[in-house]
Symmetry: D2
Subunit: 122 residues, 4 copies
């Protein structure tokens, strides 16, 4: 982005503290990741490439400092499934100025639900 | 959700203030909405139904109090397009206890970008 | 579409018989439907609206004469799930000149797989 | 897939000629690819990885012998866009017994539309 664009962009976030901005951007990225890639055909053959591709795609989003995507579940070599939200284990690091938020998308067995939450804000 | 599940669910958010939780859930919902429905075939024939369907789908998400989706752009009766992110004008109201966050997804001409941001936290 | 556009459009399909064109367009529509809407938040509250919205969205696609979408599964009023491909029961009618193809997307228990297939060509 | 599953699977396609089966599976794959990946964040940084990842993901689908995905358009290093259907240039090779179908997804300027069509059946 050009400098001028950056200023316009940031002007929309002046009403948020760094912590608030961090969890807002983190929420966007987790919601986007889930709903963009759920459904994608995956097997043992393309699991690693899909994980890496999701990571690099989401690194384009604002404030994403790092992201690690793991696709869990009993994948096979010769039969694919559609990527299910319950198969996603994501660790996301968002940086806003000096604030770091560590976020997570993970299947929670007690809830039978792939939960998005904030692990820690540093 | 059952009461016990609700407690487990909420235990993951104890480290966030109500404002932080509100913008986090708002971010998730905007990111989810965008990446779920972008690409959907839309024309004048199904515009209103798609808007309503996106609204009701996203109202399932945690803390979504209200949402208004408008698909803007020069749609036709007899030729469809794939829903583009730039065509989305969304007003989202998130409620966490007594805190209300008003969020927006809107195409910003100066950025040539469909921006997700927080308009106000009450 | 304008008349001239229609001619250009159809010129790309001269190498296909009506039967071939019908199953090609049917395949596109089933693949599109599945990968567009899988992941969408659904509960008993928005099930019918989502079904109707998928139908009307896909009716925009070329040669779609009729379509019936049913979301099956144990949905609840107060807890949503992400739409899973196994929950889709779709009947699709494609028309190319005088040829009608009836297609289906349905979960097949023996395959543990949501299968897309052609039921009949009339 | 196991042998028995394969037989059940193929039993659903006995009513199609090899040519019909080929264009049906080709249609599914093109429709799936488009609606799965449109919307994904892409810049010069992740363009190649996303192309490769789409290819390997779709190779899981039945009868896909080969596929080449090119993301066209004026991408930048430092500003991403959401993948638009008009940016997709796809060459798909489907094999059913001795029949090969070559399919294409490509933006057609005269139609202002990303067209899916069959180039040749061999």
């Amino acid at each position: 982005m050009k400098l001028e664009e950056n200023e316009i962009f940031n002007s929309y976030f002046k009403n948020l503290s760094d912590r608030e901005r961090a969890v807002f951007e983190g929420g966007i990225t987790l919601g986007a990741l889930f709903h963009q890639f759920v459904g994608a055909p995956v097997s043992l053959k393309n699991k690693e490439l899909l994980e890496k591709s999701i990571e690099e795609s989401m690194k384009n989003q604002p404030c994403v400092e790092d992201i690690k995507v793991e696709i869990v579940g009993d994948l096979k070599e010769d039969k694919y499934v559609s990527l299910d939200g319950n198969m996603l284990n994501v660790k996301l690091k968002i940086k806003v100025n000096n604030t770091i938020a560590l976020l997570r998308l993970k299947y929670i067995k007690e809830l039978n639900y792939p939960l998005m939450y904030v692990e820690e804000i540093l």
